[in-house]
């Protein structure tokens, strides 16, 4: 039993789960801001990839991960602005627009990585420092899991509450939800639907851009083409699984990344011969089940996906 426990090493398991959930939660909350205001965002993957790339590129040339961080966020906002312009102003189908951004992000990061970063073998800008929160980090179990992390993970933990508060307690949140449910009603109440949607889409870019910084500036200190590896889509799944709420998305992300870690452990530590492919399917299959309503229907904002036309 004690052997099992030491092999399971739950504290490290949970700590890794929390860390790897970081970009999922951030991107999922980005998707949430966006979709709560009525705009589908399947561009999370592309935005994260762009954020990871620009963040690293800027950090590389400025030698500051912090400037890189700012750049990651700003670049996320910029590329999200493209999504906003296309889908809100030009009434392009939101899924098409999101998809275009994903393709574009692969192209841009791939081409410019090749040109400017690939052959660089000098030491990179490094990663965000580890910060142990005084006192709290010394608490057993809780401390190592929550209070011995790096910037993006702390930011994620704080942002869960911030986004929840914004969505459900503030004027902005009320207006956002109104635009996502019934934009015309919002407009007759004197709300500028376009403005609300633009801001939320751009905010989603900031969150996903921050999520991108996780890859290049928090975990690796380097950029690699395609390094987000489809996590933007898992984040989308986490958002749905979490029923468009920050806490729900957090729980879903933990479930997804946790199942990943448990799967690896089964192979490496417990030598359980489950094909890894099946473990890899968990997030996707769970999402399908949820979308199919088996765990209580996930109700998307009513107007999500529908371009809003004035008048």
């Amino acid at each position: 039993m004690t052997d099992f426990l030491s092999q399971l090493d739950p504290v490290s398991l949970l700590s890794i789960t929390l860390i790897t959930a970081t970009p999922l939660v951030l991107a999922a909350m980005g998707g949430m801001m966006c979709e709560r205001s009525g705009v589908v965002n399947i561009a999370l993957e592309g935005i994260m990839l762009t954020g990871a790339f620009i963040g690293y590129g800027v950090a590389f040339f400025t030698h500051s991960v912090w400037i890189g961080l700012a750049a990651a966020i700003v670049s996320g906002m910029l590329i999200a602005t493209l999504h906003a312009v296309l889908s809100i102003s030009f009434l392009v189908d939101q899924i098409v627009s999101g998809m275009v951004i994903n393709i574009l992000a692969v192209g841009i990061t791939g081409v410019f990585y090749r040109t400017y970063l690939e052959s660089a073998t000098t030491v990179g800008p490094g990663t965000f420092p580890h910060w142990d929160v005084p006192v709290l980090s010394a608490i057993p179990v809780i401390g190592p899991i929550f209070f011995q992390n790096q910037f993006v993970t702390y930011a994620m933990l704080i942002l869960i509450f911030v986004v929840h508060f914004i969505l459900f307690r503030t004027v902005w949140g009320l207006r956002t939800r109104a635009c996502g449910e019934h934009p015309r009603a919002a407009e007759t109440a004197g709300i500028n639907v376009y403005f609300v949607r633009y801001v939320n889409v751009i905010a989603s870019g900031a969150l996903a851009g921050l999520g991108g910084a996780y890859f290049s500036l928090q975990q690796i200190g380097n950029f690699l083409p395609n390094m987000t590896g489809g996590r933007g889509y898992i984040a989308l799944a986490a958002m749905i699984f979490g029923k468009w709420t920050p806490l729900g998305a957090f729980a879903a992300s933990l479930l997804f990344s946790g199942s990943d870690q448990v799967g690896s452990r089964l192979q490496s530590v417990f030598h359980v011969p489950i094909p890894l492919q099946f473990l890899g399917m968990i997030p996707y299959v769970l999402t399908i089940i949820v979308v199919a309503g088996a765990m209580g229907r996930a109700v998307a904002p009513a107007a999500v996906g529908i371009p809003y036309k004035k008048g």
């Binding site: 899924i95 998809m99 574009l104 081409v111």
Partner: protein
């Protein structure tokens, strides 16, 4: 009448054409930013796609899967379904078809090839029907389910191809399925090249799909459901069954593309999943404005881009990811014709925006 006709020409020909040009212009900016000469790069792209030895034949080889996949997505669009899962259906179709094709021995090609093709189409159809069924039964949005099913299909492919006793060929050093028999191979039609009968089959699929959509009751049903689920239902059309049927047909086309690629080019499957066909297929369908005839030039363009990219990289060492920039830009201009309108002051162009997402979301159909 003449004005309306001219309007049609503008939307179906001019806007895509101008969009392609604009897409290349954006790509040129990227090439300059990447430190190369766009003229050299595009020259190489062109040469690699058309003028080099065998280039045109290779472009047609690359066009072949895009034809099937583009038709698959376009067909879905016509019924208001956004099939992002073409890639997964491509793989599952390939798996099923390959399995049948390498398992069967001793039959003449006239039997073995069709059996392989049918198995491939059935595999794609079944896989796509999952998403169709979930939508029909539970109202699960197909965009989400097909994205998720794509990943599941990669893992299924990897599991089947990598596992001894399943589809992994014995005595090979690389994880792949056994080769299909020569009698299951789609013969080459241009000596000295890889251009195979599958290209002709894919070409024939265009009028077949057009006929299906425009001239048959199935196509009518599919369009009626695509435009208005409510009206279709009230007229006694089973929306659920139509959705499943449409997804199955769409998946069959994607599976067709997959198995043709195996029987015509590779002769086996590997576990390597890195194509991104699903997104390309959507781009092809958008560029074609969901019209089967439009898929023809659109697939050709994508085949040419794919094929020319190698030579472009050879000549300029620009990453072949540049093609993605061109493709994405083209779709932007196609999907937002307003931009083209502004750029070229085609103010009168009645270029309506492309609308895929359903007009109305109905309650699940039971």
């Amino acid at each position: 009448m003449a004005a309306a006709w001219r309007g049609r020409v503008v939307t179906t020909v001019l806007v895509p054409l101008v969009s392609v040009v604009c897409g290349f212009l954006v790509g040129a900016i990227a090439i300059v930013a990447a430190g190369a000469d766009p003229l050299v790069a595009y020259g190489a792209l062109f040469a690699g796609a058309f003028t080099n030895h065998n280039a045109l034949a290779e472009t047609l080889v690359s066009t072949t899967p895009y034809l099937g996949l583009g038709l698959a997505v376009a067909l879905g669009f016509r019924a208001g379904l956004f099939n992002i899962g073409a890639e997964g259906q491509f793989y599952i179709g390939s798996l099923a078809g390959t399995f049948v094709a390498y398992s069967i021995h001793g039959l003449p090609p006239v039997l073995e090839v069709p059996l392989g093709l049918i198995a491939g189409m059935a595999g794609g159809a079944l896989w796509a029907s999952i998403a169709g069924g979930l939508k029909a039964r539970f109202g699960a949005h197909e965009v989400i389910t097909t994205i998720m099913l794509n990943y599941v299909s990669f893992l299924v492919a990897s599991y089947l191809v990598d596992t001894k006793g399943l589809m992994l060929a014995p005595d090979v050093s690389t994880p792949r399925t056994p080769d299909v028999d020569p009698s299951a191979v789609l013969p080459v039609i241009l000596a000295g090249s890889r251009l195979h009968v599958g290209f002709i089959l894919a070409l024939l699929a265009v009028p077949v799909v057009w006929f299906l959509i425009e001239r048959t009751t199935i196509g009518f049903r599919l369009r009626a459901v695509g435009f208005s689920q409510g009206a279709a239902r009230a007229a006694g059309i089973s929306v659920g069954r139509t959705i499943v049927l449409t997804m199955a047909l769409s998946g069959a086309l994607a599976g067709f593309a997959g198995i043709v690629e195996v029987l015509g080019v590779n002769y086996h499957m590997t576990d390597t999943v890195a194509a991104g066909y699903g997104f390309d297929a959507i781009a092809v369908a958008l560029l074609a404005r969901s019209n089967p005839w439009g898929v023809l030039p659109a697939a050709f363009l994508f085949g040419a881009l794919h094929n020319g990219a190698g030579f472009m990289q050879l000549e300029t060492q620009i990453s072949s990811d540049l093609i993605s920039i061109v493709q994405a830009s083209v779709i932007i201009f196609v999907a937002a014709p307003v931009i083209v309108g502004w750029l070229f002051r085609l103010r009168r162009a009645p270029a309506e925006t492309v609308h895929i997402t359903q007009r109305e979301v109905d309650a699940p159909v039971t």
